[in-house]
Amino acid sequence: MKTILDSPIHVDRRTTIKWLAATMVAANTACSTNAKFLGEEIPPVNDAGGNLLGVAAKSNGVGYGTDPDLMNPVVPWSRTMTRPQLETTSALCDFILPEDDRSPAASAVGVPDFIDEWISAPYERQQNDRGEILAGLEWLEQQSWNRFGHGFPSADDQQATELIDSMASSDPAATEQSDLVTFFNRFRYLAVGAYYTTEEGIEDIGYIGNVPIAGDYPGPSDAAMAHLSGVLEKLNLTMPD
């Protein structure tokens, strides 16, 4: 399957489906991801991703245990994404969190590697995310080939927007979410958490704590109090003493 990535041949959707189906049968893999894929007829992929992006390595399953060294943290488990999976991850990260005039793109601060760390972790929550994330990445890649004749990392803004819009829900309160919406929300959750915990992300969002203060805690700044006064006025409430 790797040859698809190596050669710029056009693969139509029906062919992809056929290949996928054949791969599934040949590999005799269990379909752990029951993808609805917004009505598309693409069959589910196995939980290692598989196919266009290759099959993620098996995690070595080493957790950090119940008494890790808190002063010298290490990630004991191995990363598992294939290079193509990482490239698609990286591209999606940067469409979600692109560079702007205040902060760099997600890939510039290690977000794709963090997502690999996350889905490779041996814990239940991360293992649940693993199948969802890898299947979603595979879907993105397939769709990109089908619609544009190249992989997702080569998508331009318009193409990426088309694909992401077919996944992203504009209604966060929607209860009937398809697997793709779940995938996109989960991916975005991971990218955002990773991004805004970096130095660059913290500076962008304006968190200015975790510095020791001598003496009493000063409370809100004058600007923050002025803003609050305005809010209370609109609500017809009185500033507490």
């Binding site: 245990g65 002063m71 809100p220 923050a224 609050l228 609109k234 409430l237 507490p240």
Partner: protein
């Protein structure tokens, strides 16, 4: 022959109750041995002060190995402890948090320290439910003052009904409220709901070697400057400094052994490092292993005198298990979007809270639930980013440059409301020895039964209605969904306030100890943890555990001195 002997007191457990008992007794010149099931722990060297979430695996987020996050001060702890199972009976789902480390759960607790009030000690007299305590508020008030002075508690005396003031000069100055708290306070004032400074065991002025809070780095990691109270930076060092305390860690106590008179002779434990079984004897034995472990030790201590467990002729050991009623709601406040940034960390916990305010209505029968609850406010919206920030991302529902703008806009616009309420003891909530399960050393383990009653569910419903009123008044949008009280209420044990499994009382037929935590039937066996709570109250139990442990220890020391023991 016991490996350790000749002590005036052998204390099992090193947390709030054990730490306090050790310090009180050691400072009176008594020789004290403390046995801790967990490993030695040094908060001065092991606390990851200031470490960034990005430097921890998975950004420090909770896993099954470390449920409260990588940096949380819990060793071999959490909802499951390796090799030490517990079970829930069919139809029950109880969660039991343990920490296997010196200082136990005091290393990571939220430090919320509210006094129980006069009503809380006589609830049956007030509403006919549950039981009264054998003591009244005035019996314990001086111990609250002494405990708060040693522990260090910030807060303010507001003279509120059933929320007693402290003696003058005891409380530390509370930290200034933050924007979210001021907003909620303004709304509460309009709705005639009190919103006042919270009380937390965090210093805002130094005590001895312990520094005042410097308003940075999470208290849940432990506090190497000693500002946030934990047994390992105050009570235990103080007790050790007397020269009268010996601490043995990795000592998993499983049994109280009686002598031929039926008195407590020693405790038996597994030395976890060698796997050997050892004994420690003393003139008195004090169990302070937590409500669950203490009940387990008593129930596993079967003898010809006590076929159902030591001191358990009443059948009350393990019974009356109570946890705090928990529920939570959150909302987004459009008016807080894009607000100016400032350092909103504060003391990394409650600055303001909402104490229960409807006692008079309750007494007049105007409410459909009998007991109180309080609100803990999640109001530091511009707190240190962790994985949870993703909640804002999915709230925004966007991506690209719009998402980055939305993140700046919504960060700090969420506030959360947490219910902490009183559970009334019921016949369906208890723990017992599971006949089919043993831990890695072959010690029989606990099986929990747990069921909330209508009293607790009605309380949660009231909390939900009131919270909606507050959110509406402040122009907020409920984000936590429309959830039934049955779904909103916490699981038993989840709030980690489990108490009541060896309750004190006036009647040996219906209680396990007298008012001093002294077992009715074994006069040199004492209990100094949450097991002895007759009822729960809605106040967080740690402060009361310490005040009672001090009172029990004073009594125990007098009894030893007068040779009554």
């Amino acid at each position: 022959m016991a490996k350790h002997e000749g002590y005036d007191a052998v204390i099992v457990g090193s947390g709030a109750g054990g730490g306090m008992a050790a310090w009180v007794l050691a400072s009176k010149g008594l020789q004290v041995l403390m046995l801790e099931a967990g490993r030695d722990y040094n908060p001065y060297e092991e606390t990851p002060m200031f470490s960034a979430p990005r430097d921890a695996p998975l950004r420090g987020t909770g896993t099954t190995d470390k449920p409260f996050g990588y940096y949380n001060a819990s060793v071999d702890g959490g909802w499951q402890v390796p090799g030490e199972p517990y079970t829930s009976a069919p139809g029950s789902e109880f969660m039991w948090w343990r920490s296997r480390m010196l200082g136990g759960r005091t290393n990571h607790w939220a430090r919320n320290s509210f006094r129980m009030g006069p009503y809380d000690f006589k609830p049956r007299t007030r509403d006919g439910l549950g039981v009264d305590w054998p003591i009244e508020y005035d019996d314990i008030a001086p111990y609250y003052d002494k405990t708060e002075a040693i522990v260090g508690v910030y807060g303010r005396n507001d003279g509120l009904e059933n929320h007693p003031d402290s003696a003058p000069g005891v409380l530390h100055k509370p930290p200034a409220p933050r924007v979210g708290e001021l907003l909620i306070q303004a709304g509460c004032h309009d709705l005639d709901i009190p919103c006042v400074p919270a009380r937390r065991a965090v210093l805002t002025r130094p005590i001895g070697d312990r520094s005042a809070c410097f308003y940075a780095t999470s208290c849940g990691r432990g506090c190497s400057i000693g500002a946030a109270f934990q047994s390992t930076t105050s009570l235990l060092p103080m007790a050790l400094a007397t020269g009268n305390l010996t601490i043995v860690t990795d000592a998993m106590v499983y049994e109280v052994s009686l002598n031929s008179d039926g008195n407590a002779d020693s405790v038996n434990y597994v030395d976890k490092k060698t796997g050997t079984h050892e004994a420690a004897s003393g003139r008195t034995i004090i169990l302070a292993a937590s409500a669950g472990e203490t009940a387990r030790i008593l129930l596993n201590s079967k003898s010809k005198y006590f076929p159902d467990g030591a001191g358990n002729s009443s059948g009350q050991v393990g019974r009356n298990l109570m946890d705090t009623v928990g529920a939570g709601m959150s909302a987004q406040f459009p008016m807080l979007e894009n607000r100016p940034s400032y350092n909103e960390d504060g003391a990394r916990g409650l600055h303001l809270y909402i104490p229960f305010w409807l006692y008079k209505e309750q007494a007049r029968g105007e409410l459909d639930f009998p007991r109180g609850y309080h609100y803990e406010l999640g109001a530091s919206g511009r707190s240190e980013p962790g994985m949870g920030l993703g909640g804002i991302a999915n709230f925004a529902g966007s991506y690209g440059k719009t998402l980055k703008e939305d993140m700046r806009r919504y960060y700090g616009s969420f506030l959360s409301f947490t219910c902490r309420g009183e559970m009334i003891p019921n016949a369906n909530s208890y723990c017992e020895i599971d006949p089919d399960t043993k831990d890695q050393w072959g010690i029989p383990t606990l099986r929990f039964h747990y069921k909330w009653s209508e009293h607790e569910l009605k309380m949660v419903e009231h909390f939900q209605e009131t919270t909606r009123e507050i959110i509406d008044r402040l122009g907020g949008i409920l984000r936590s969904g429309d959830v039934s009280p049955e779904d909103a209420i916490s699981k038993g044990g989840q709030i980690i306030h489990e108490v009541g499994t060896a309750r004190m009382g006036n009647d040996p037929d219906s209680s396990v100890t007298n008012q001093y935590g002294q077992c009715w039937e074994i006069s040199n066996l004492f209990i100094a943890d949450g097991s002895v709570f007759s009822t729960k109250s809605h106040k967080n139990p740690t402060l009361t555990i310490m005040a009672l442990a001090w009172r029990n220890s004073d009594y125990l020391a007098e009894q030893l001195k007068s040779k009554a023991l």
